[in-house]
Amino acid sequence: MSGGDNAEEDPVNPEGLAVYTKDLVRRYGTTTAVDGIDLSIPRGEVYGFLGPNGAGKSTLIRVLCTLLRPTAGRVLVAGYDVAERPEEVRLRIGVALQEAALDPRQSGRELLVLQGRLYGLSTSEIRGRLRDVLDLVDIAEAIDRRIATYSGGMKRRLDLAAALVHNPEVLFLDEPTTGLDPESRSHVWAEVRRLNAELGITIFLTTQYLEEADILADRVGIINQGRLIAEGSPDVLKHSMGEDLIVAEVEGDGDGALVALRSLGMVSAASRHGDRIVIATPDGPAAISPVALQLGHFGLEVRSITLRSPTLDDVFRELTGTRIETAAAR
């Protein structure tokens, strides 16, 4: 698991990829928001970009969508360079930004028709596409109402419909479920899966929700402080932590406990984060008793001990020493 290893060398045909970046840097003044990111995303993939708030996700997506020019590096989207041919990129991408960017004074239908006109579609093409996208995003009942009357979930769905009117090759979703209730969130997830499975649209989504990346993405890139620190399928990333995790809440210093734990044959890694000790092991049920004994042996008072499968948050914590939620709050 190493950040962007697959893009260390130019692929044979970067123009054939949905998204390709090489040494992408974006600075705001003296602040570096995106710092040397390499991506190679084939067509038809759902790629999840996971990281805390302020990690550089939105900046990256704004570069890929042509709203920002890269400070350095090469960036191709749908085969076109975003710096040299932004107009070609815009024709081929659909974008739903973090805050549903809609005009509340228009009706949903007016907004979608306007979107279709700006993409050069004829009246009959727009009519057909509206039928298609309204089926996809399930908002037909409200389509003639003013957008100002829509709920947050409906606005997100309309935003998604607007991003799809011109039948894009690559769809960018910037935190598509942030602020949504669980029901609306699962609705969006279902739509994303259908778009990818039935229409073959490449989907690049950013998220700060571990579950979202885990459920939706074929591959996940983890970003922290502007750098890609890990990349791979969710399963591969999680299994890199070991098959199981034992998490112990403890009190006391327990000097030497970690070294002793690591020396147990069935423990592949052990680390301490405040009062929590996290032990990775290929066989959790077999390891939990020896681990508990070892902790007691070093004078640690064990308040609780649990056995569970690794999550992407564990991967993030292993790589950065902090949890995504903690990093987001900083």
Binding site: A101, D103, E110, L114, Y119
Partner: protein, 265 residues
């Protein structure tokens, strides 16, 4: 329900379609927000009536001078000044909808010029009730129907020339309050001219400022069409003043648009 793949793809729409799409959206909002437009009819009608009531008797002594005709251009200029979609634009910037439009293949200049095209339609529509009031109280055009059309053209050009300033502020600041404040620019422009009393009556510093104020030449051109017959000098001077103002305000607006859509590096 299974989605069917489609062969329809996005393509460039063409500049005229970009313009008409942006303008059409702006015009659709007008009947939904009548309070944004109605004051532009009532306020100039009010000032027209008040000024007539207060000053017409003073002007009665001048032979062949109609104060009603003299004051009508002031009412028109009052009606159309500041009639812009700049508030709509700044709201789009604040709401993020401007970004969504920038994600489409629309030409950046069409995002501004489309709104200005809508402004011209609104301005012409606003001239009609004020002209109707003038006709209703007996004002007649010595240049006939052609003069009315030229009058409307000058009014539209003035409205367009002024409207560049609020657009520039909207794009530069993204602040609705700042856009509202640009209307303040109108007052010195307007009242430091011969809007209410004829230029020969003005004296001292006021007369000097009025001489360099483009509004003076706008009003002179409009008045010539009503009561002076075809006067090429007045029309050319008016056109030159408005063109100069238009170049300045459009430069500000286009520069601000470039700044807003500049993707940085």
């Amino acid at each position: 329900m299974t989605a069917e793949p489609t062969t329809i793809r996005g393509r460039e729409a063409g500049y005229l379609r970009d313009l008409s799409t942006v303008a059409g959206r702006a015009l659709r909002q007008i009947p939904r927000e009548p309070l944004a437009v109605l004051p532009a009819v009532f306020v100039p009608a009010f000032f027209y009536a008040v000024n007539l009531g207060a000053l017409e008797n003073l002007a009665r002594g001048a032979p062949g001078f109609s104060y009603k005709a003299f004051l009508l251009p002031m009412a028109i200029a009052f009606a159309v000044t500041g009639m812009s979609r700049a508030q709509m634009l700044v709201t789009d910037v604040v709401d993020g909808y401007f970004d969504r439009l920038c994600l489409t293949p629309v030409r950046r200049s069409a995002l501004l010029l489309g709104l200005m095209a809508a402004d011209v339609v609104v301005i012409l529509a606003l001239c009609l009730p004020v002209l109707a009031i003038g006709f209703g109280i007996g004002v007649r055009f010595s240049t006939g129907f052609a003069g009315v059309l030229v009058f409307l053209g000058f009014s539209a050009l003035w409205g367009l020339a002024f409207t560049g300033f609020p657009y520039a502020v909207a794009l530069k600041t993204g602040s609705p309050a700042a856009v509202s404040a640009t209307y303040v620019v109108f007052f010195p422009l307007f009242f430091l001219s011969d809007a209410v009393v004829p230029k020969p009556v003005l004296t001292g510093w006021f007369s000097t400022i009025a001489t360099y104020n483009p509004v003076t030449y706008l009003l002179a051109a409009l008045r010539s069409l009503i009561s002076g017959g075809w006067q090429p000098n007045a029309l050319v001077e008016g056109l030159a003043a408005l063109t100069g103002l238009l170049v300045v305000s459009m430069s500000f607006a286009l520069f601000a648009l470039r700044g807003r859509t500049n993707r940085g590096a």
